[in-house]
Subunit: 367 residues, 2 copies
């Protein structure tokens, strides 16, 4: 990518949303409505430049935005379009700064598109990177928060005109609690902006290149479909992922627990995995993959279920008995695998005290 | 009262809290902890002047503060003491104004004392008046809100250092929702400040003289106790109230419903009311009094249960089988009885569609 980045074109939005759906690892919400909103803005003349992390001036300010809702898939969608923009403006005003770029909280799912809408409305560039390299359910699960971004002032805005500012917040867990409760009170869709971050901080802590990565994955999917190639194979190749399992879903359990969609899917092996059984634990996103009771991928590494014939990523709420799936894995970025990060996004943080994180890559090398 | 008001003395706090407990009409929380906090500040040299509404300059700004919590009695208490002060400062900062006086949201219960603490910390006077003339459970139930006070920016602060600002809020019902949910997230105690109001607006809409009224009632109670007089009779005389019923509680039902303590008490008549039965409907506060199934007092007029021997006001959560009570009634201020006010605080607003408000005074004259 050139140092000045590249202009996002209208025709980039579809592949971007496809790639983001995949990087959502089963969660992150559907980017479709956001894509339509962004397209509308572009057709009206809005220009959004994607700039690399290195293009951020050290003393500039960067806004992190994303949709937030009751953590139930589908509720993460934004109703009116300007929510993140208004939350961003409220944060700027409260902090007394002007931001010069917008960055995503999470590249996975709907929140890949929200920063683009806010950037288009504000006439700002969007940064090629995000705070997760995937999707996660909670506010504190970004590299920014993990590595000490200011917790306040943050803000949340709804489609009706309400704006709530979290002016002084003592830590990121309180921010998650306040933001989540306010989002639930607001109903369906709310836009969230965290405290402006300095350019040098974002350069050190953001996961780089993930907008381009999502775009690239999405383009590969579209190309493979056009050429009637095996989409799963092409995605694996393009994303640098690995096929871990193929099979048929034979059991799926889901419950709403503590505000999250928790559950698991059991997959009976087919093809090379005939006779084996896989199990995936779910909390909005796919958390852990066991094959024959041995854990083989775990958060924060990425676990993705693709519909085996079409290569379509299957979000956790769309998993159904009888579906034939390919389970692929992708190592998360190193910034998400430090001891500090694992305290927030490792298997223990997600309620698996018996699991100690083993990165996908290390295991690959060890074999 | 002189135009410049009067200095509140340490020895005023006890009668003030006694009068406020009575005006709480069964709710409003216990003012005791707040009283100790205010006493401590006074002993350290804080001076709080009580000023009449007329002393407010038209173009001055007035802060309305009060404790807010899950609307369950006991949760309205403030843990650390500076919550309302910090909420007030956040509102001033967001609105870009400096307030020159503090006024109470409700004179009933714990919130009679909160403005005094905030005023003592800020070195400001407290206004002799409030927004209810009693206690009510929700944010929109003040004369300020009813008569069009600005809804935002408002703010809430907890004892840990968290401050949340409701920067843009579309109406008072949304403010109630956001504030209530945030207060619940904050846990036990939170201080709430609404948008600064102009002096001329407060002069028109506040219920006047209620700090002095509470003080006067409390002094009467203390005096009657010291002289071993009949406290109930002295309170009735001092407050301009009327005795409506005496009896023994024979049934008491309570349930937590929609976040509120709802229920009713049945009282079997004694003395002049032998053979009659009274029923009181409760939602945190006493809402409606029926005698032999005929409604005789209803919100927003005040219904107060006094322990018959000691004259002690009985809060709704302290009602017990076998208690001997005197039920007294007091007309609410006219500002709470306009059609506009009754939409918010009349019997229909509290879930009694079959009742049309009949004011206590009118009924007295009609008899």
């Amino acid at each position: 990518m050139p140092a000045e980045g590249y202009l996002l074109r209208e025709e980039d939005l579809l592949p971007l949303s496809i790639g983001a759906a995949l990087l959502g690892t089963g969660g992150g919400g559907n980017p479709y409505i956001g894509m339509l909103r962004a397209r509308e803005l572009m057709r009206k003349g809005a220009q959004v430049r994607v700039i690399p992390l290195e293009a951020l001036a050290e003393d500039s300010w960067v806004a992190e935005v994303g949709g937030i809702g009751a953590p139930v898939v589908g509720v993460e969608k934004i109703e009116e379009g300007g929510e993140c923009y208004r939350a961003m403006r409220a944060v700027e005003e409260t902090a007394g700064v002007k931001v010069s770029a917008v960055i995503s909280a999470e590249i996975g799912g709907a929140n890949s598109i929200e920063p683009i809408i806010a950037a288009a409305m504000a006439g700002l560039p969007v940064v090629d990177g995000d705070g997760m390299g995937r999707a996660f359910p909670e506010v504190q699960m970004t590299t920014y928060m993990i590595y000490g971004a200011p917790v306040s002032p943050a803000a949340i805005a709804d489609e009706k005109g309400n704006v709530v500012v979290f002016k002084d917040v003592i830590d990121m867990f309180w921010l998650e609690r306040f933001a989540r409760d306010t989002a639930v009170a607001m109903g369906a869709g709310a836009g969230f902006a965290t405290a402006p971050m300095r350019g040098d901080f974002v350069r050190r802590t953001a996961i780089p290149g993930t907008v381009s990565q999502a775009l690239e994955i999405g383009r590969t999917v579209l190309d493979a479909r056009a050429k009637r190639q095996n989409v799963v194979e092409r995605v694996i190749e393009s994303a640098g992922a690995k096929l871990f399992f193929t099979g048929k879903i034979v059991d799926i359990r889901r419950e709403l627990k503590g505000g999250f969609a928790r559950g698991h899917a059991i997959i009976a092996g087919t093809g090379d995995w005939t006779g084996a059984e896989a199990r995936i634990a779910i909390q909005n996103e796919n958390l852990v993959l066991w094959i024959d009771e041995r854990p083989v991928i775990m958060v924060p590494d990425l676990i993705m279920n693709l519909e085996i014939d079409t290569g379509e990523p299957i979000t956790t709420e769309m998993l159904r008995y009888g579906q034939r799936v390919a389970v692929i894995g992708l190592p998360v970025h190193d910034l998400m695998k430090t001891p500090r990060a694992l305290e927030i996004v490792g298997p223990k943080a997600f309620g698996f005290p018996e699991l100690t994180f083993e990165p996908l890559v290390t295991r690959e090398i060890a074999r």
